[in-house]
């Protein structure tokens, strides 16, 4: 590992800290910037005295700066506040729901990688140098249509077909594998299409590179060319959009959870917004945002390390 | 006309900086051509870009007709731009694909001194195109409709439209076929005669430079290693690098010679002390361990009885390193 790489990794980690600070501040400001009084709608029909007491309880009567320091301090102690509605600690709410979301996102990611990648590489091999123009048109049409269809619609259609018409799979809830299939599919379709399009273009680009021509001129067997020369380079290129694909998966999960009534972070977030339960909204947003940022930084660092130029001092 | 004194151009800063041009001193005469020869990494293109104001100067000075223009603001000012123009290497990327030839020419004419009416600008655009052998029919067409040679002519016409005194020609024929090169070179010579232009002709192609230039400077790793009248530099080179170039150059009238230089150009970021060429010099410390001065001292351009100056510790004798090189080389 060279000094240059260590310095770059250090820079990334520093950037991560900076971004996390910005995220925490933004999440904190969410409650401050809400139009009107955050407490009012939740507690309709309460007296002014009770309102003041609640305000003191949640620390909303202090100055913004004090509230901020309290918030950050609490964060470091694992305290994300309490739900306006149930007084339950937000941390507990999140802990109860996070597994369901992780399951969903994880399953969807697996589908995206293991379906999208091979599909795209195969399509690239078949359409390289202008072969099978019609197949190319078909590929692009199908991927753009499926990719543009809203995932909540796909989710609903899937539920309709498999749960109502054929009663094969359950709709709603989480915990079992069967309950994971339809939501994972619904989440995975759009990102799979995005990844497939990008990977196909990257594969075509790699196939047109001079070093592939060299391998061909050496009459190496096709499988060797693809596995050893094409795939590693495509993988790294695909990693650069890994962050975006991950964001698509997380975003999709948030919506699809609501369609399938899975008790996850997405439903917590939306329910919280609809009932003005700001601590819950803050907690869910924070966890989702931090996850995304950390994963992106990890991907960036991996790319830096894998870069062949990293090996030279 | 244009004087460069101890000019340096740097990329980056601090520890990671690269001195692409290192204390270069040159004179570009009025109405004549100075050829600038060097291989990749020699800094010649960087120097060309610095002269036309695309890069800042880190040290030394630039004087145009005696007036100082070292600050980059001075070289990006309209007054300077009207007198110094540039033609680039790649005809396929030096013209804006979204502008018609007419639009590009009218824009260039508009940068000339003085106010011209729209009609006058159009007429001047046509005139500039005609002087490079193209006609008014080119006005409405787009660059992609022309061949490489024609595009290069358009680029020359555009540089000419401003009525400059000095044109920097950066590898202008390197991307063209051999049969087209000669046409462009002839055109450039005719234009020089007709308009009294000065040229800085930058190229890695020694033969072409020898045909076009009255004076020549040879660059290696950012420095001038030899300079003087073209006939002397190419005919009786005094610096071992120039000699190696001449020997490596294939020619129709002689047989092949073994490669005179070993190794590759060192990394410009990690230059060893002393002479930049000593790592490859056929008559340097590699073959003659007694020549340790090459490892310690950076040689300066040394004048002698011959008209060409060479930056070599052992070039002082008449015939300089030439005879020694001939003897040392098997």
């Amino acid at each position: 590992m060279s000094v240059r790489i260590l310095r770059q990794v250090g820079q990334r980690l520093l950037g991560l800290v900076f971004v996390l600070a910005a995220v925490v501040t933004s999440v904190f400001l969410m409650m401050q910037l809400v139009p009107g009084d955050p407490l009012v709608s939740e507690t309709g029909g309460v007296t002014q005295e009770q309102l003041d007491r609640l305000r003191a309880l949640y620390g909303l009567d202090q100055s913004v700066f004090d509230q901020f320091t309290a918030y950050v301090g609490n964060l470091f102690q694992g305290d994300l506040g309490r739900s306006f509605r149930t007084q339950e600690p937000v941390v507990d709410i999140i802990q109860q729901r996070i597994w369901s979301s992780l399951e969903l996102a994880g399953a969807a990611l697996l589908i995206v990688m293991f379906v999208g990648f091979p599909l795209a590489m195969f399509a690239a091999a078949a359409t390289r140098e202008g072969r099978h123009r019609r197949l190319e048109v078909g590929f692009l049409s199908v991927t753009s249509v499926l990719g543009a269809t809203p995932n909540y619609l796909i989710a609903t259609l899937l539920a309709f077909v498999f749960a109502v018409q054929f009663t094969l799979l359950p709709v709603g809830g989480s915990g079992s594998f069967e309950q994971l299939i339809l939501p994972a599919l619904a989440v995975a379709i759009a990102p799979t299409m995005s990844l497939a399009r990008i990977v196909r273009l990257e594969t075509l680009d790699v196939l047109s590179q001079d070093y592939v021509r060299t391998a061909r001129s050496q009459r190496l067997p096709t499988h060797m060319i693809y596995l050893r020369h094409v795939f590693p380079n495509v993988l790294t290129a695909a990693l650069t959009v890994g962050g975006l694909i991950f964001a698509e998966v997380i975003g999709g999960a948030v919506i699809v959870e609501n369609v399938f009534a899975r008790p996850g972070l997405g439903t917590a977030l939306v329910d919280g917004v609809l009932s003005n339960n700001y601590p819950v909204v803050q907690g869910a947003t924070l966890v989702l945002a931090v996850t995304v940022v950390v994963v992106n930084t990890a991907v960036d660092i991996t790319l830096d390390v894998l870069d062949p130029r990293a090996r030279t001092g | 006309m244009l004087e460069l004194r101890d000019l340096s151009v740097r990329y980056g800063s601090g520890r990671r900086s690269l001195t692409a041009v290192d204390r270069v001193s040159l004179d570009i005469p009025s109405g004549a051509t100075l050829g600038l020869v060097g291989e990749s990494g020699s800094g010649k293109s960087t120097l060309a870009r610095a002269i036309v104001g695309l890069l800042p100067i880190a040290g030394g000075s630039v004087r145009l007709d005696g007036a100082d223009h070292t600050r980059q603001a001075a070289r990006t000012a309209p007054a300077y731009r009207r007198r110094v123009q540039m033609v680039f290497q790649d005809p396929h990327s030096s013209l804006n694909p979204r502008m018609s030839v007419g639009q590009a020419m009218v824009e260039a004419v508009g940068k000339r001194e003085g106010e011209l009416s729209r009609a006058e600008r159009r007429a001047e655009a046509v005139r500039a195109l005609e002087s490079v052998g193209l006609g008014a029919t080119a006005l409405e067409r787009y660059p992609h409709e022309f061949s490489g040679g024609q595009r290069q002519r358009i680029a020359i016409a555009r540089a000419l439209a401003v009525r400059p005194q000095l044109i920097v020609l950066d590898e202008v024929t390197s991307a063209l076929d051999v049969s087209v090169q000669a046409t462009i070179l002839n055109l450039l010579t005719d234009l020089q005669r007709e308009f009294g232009l000065s040229y800085l002709f930058v190229s890695h192609n020694l033969s072409v430079v020898s045909l076009m230039s009255e004076a020549v400077a040879v660059m290696y790793l950012g420095r001038i290693v030899e300079r003087g009248p073209a006939g002397d530099v190419f005919g009786r080179p005094r610096h071992p690098y120039t000699q190696a170039l001449m020997k490596s150059l294939p020619s129709l009238s002689s047989a092949r010679a073994h490669a005179p230089v070993v190794g590759d150009v060192p990394d410009p970021r990690n230059l060893p002390p002393g002479c930049p060429f000593h790592t490859r010099c056929p008559v340097g410390p590699l073959t003659r361990p007694d020549r340790s001065v090459c490892l310690e001292q950076d040689p300066q351009l040394v004048a002698s009885s011959q008209p060409n100056e060479a930056a070599c510790h052992f070039a002082a004798a008449p015939g300089g390193a030439a005879s020694e090189a001939a003897g040392a080389h098997v």
């Binding site: 950037g15 050496q218 590693p232 | 490669a259 590759d264 490859r280």
Partner: protein, 653 residues
Amino acid sequence: MTASALRLSRTGMSAPVLRAFRRAPSGMIGAGVVAAILVVAVLGPIVFGDEAQERDLTNASQGVSREHLLGTDALGRDILARLIVATRLSIGLGLASAALAMVAGILIGVSAALFGGRARVIVLRTIDTMISFPSILVAVFFSVILGRGVTGALIGVAASTAFHIARITSTLAISASRRDYVDAARVLGVRGRPLVVRYVLRNIGEPLTVAASVVVGSSIVTISALSFLGLGPQAPQYDWGTMLTEGVKAIYRTPAAALGPAGAIAISAFAFAFVGEAVARAMNPRLWTAPSGRAARAVATAPAATLVEQAAAAGRARPDERVEVGGKDGPPALEVTDLVISFPSAQGATEVIKGVTFSVGEGEIVGIVGESGSGKTMTALAVAQLVPYPGRVSGSVRLHGRELTDLSRKELDSLLGNDLAVVFQDPMASLNPRLTIGTQLGQAVRVHKGFSRRRARDLAVRSLAEVSIPAGETQLGRYPNEFSGGMRQRAMIAMGVMKEPSLLIADEPTTALDVTIQAQIMDVLHDINARHRTSMILISHDLALVKQNCHRVLVMYAGRIVEDLEADAIRTQAVHPYTKALVGTVPEIGQSRTGPLPDIPGEIPDPADPPPGCPFHPRCPLAVDRCSVERPPLLHRGGGHRAACHVANEGVE
């Protein structure tokens, strides 16, 4: 003439853009649909407003019927009417959000290109961070702080999309600003707004237009997603998204209630996308000079078979062109007979190699010289059986007597993998940057000769030493980017020599290298030729290089060999006018300028449209009438010298 130039400069590009746009059918359809959608958006609430509000509780949640084409909702209202009325809000929000996102995104993206150094890095990093957040999360954030409703949804979706646009714009703008024409404009004195608009923005307009149309579609979709979740327009406002929410609740009984709004969303997204793509294509000046529809179609209707036959007949080798078999010392290493390579084109088929016949003897170095369009590289590719798709090759290629076109894929791989080495032009790109030199050098012998890894490594070290790369063991573990250009090319040669081929093809091996390094590479090739008696083909545009380094030279022009003679004789005994002209254009150092340089007037012919008769005759100083009618055959003039010229060959049998 000048009037039209004036018109052009005033109207910019609008006239030809419209013409090009009209030519694309998908664009016209999309434009039609978009126009229809906009009309519905504007007029919908006016015409159907009342009907959309009519409640009819007795007919609530009905399916498709004649009075209600999409059924009714929970309050008995006609869904189709509501769909039409909702168009205004959905499209309006989508367009507004997209417009906001485009303006903000382009401003941010262009600024990243205009800044340099630290500022640029900061802007780019910020963009990258912002786009790593899921759009829905950003949208929810803004919904919360701006309150649930139209404004929140609008700003939220725009904020997220803006950074995606900024990313695309910054990448495009940065690469556009690196092009020479931007520097050229700067040198002219163009600066500020004209520089940004004319030189940067206009050149990134195409992809941005496509992006804009995609953004409109995705904005419509994302805003409806927010509405679906309850974060969009609040009651009594409604858009397609809120209608979809209601429809989804009833989907099992009355699917039309959901399919209606879903269809509307999808159709609008696609229509805008088609229009965008068509506009983007129309903006490309390259399309403005393409032949109009009718002309293009007329050319293409000539039956392809006839055209191919005609072209083939014109390029056939005459019987007197057979090459004497047997090179200098015994049977030739390579014999190419009547090689023709054609590519399908609008006119049927274009021949880029029009019947080439030559041979390379054992241990002989043959040079192939030509300019662009001569076909020299394609000839090499044909010998190596690497002609790219969709090229068609005909003719015979025999390597040591074995006919390559007869072999199966497996036999070909085995023969060529062992017996032929190719060295390409750009050593920087010809080696895989992610694999070590050792791995790449060893591949061929391990596959084709079955060597073990140890044996392959030993052989690699020896080969590297042969090309003057010492300390082979350490070098094997290095990556290509650690080598300089000259070293990489030597490694490529080592890679080829390792398998002890009988033929090595070097295609412009030193064009990308400096002249001093070129000399080193030539030394290496000669060394290999002397030591292993490897036959070689050296392809180059540099006549002097070929003369000095080859035994024999083939001069190619427009897909044919025009002369074949001994390298030493080029300057003195060449007879073909093109060869002589080429010799004339090679400047000799020290040669004094006594007038204009000899050049070759005219242009290299288009392979699809060659001149009749001799391809060189329009540029030839010796051309006579016969030259424009009859193609000169490549005739033997004795001593292995062949030339294809009527005038030069007068009196030759």
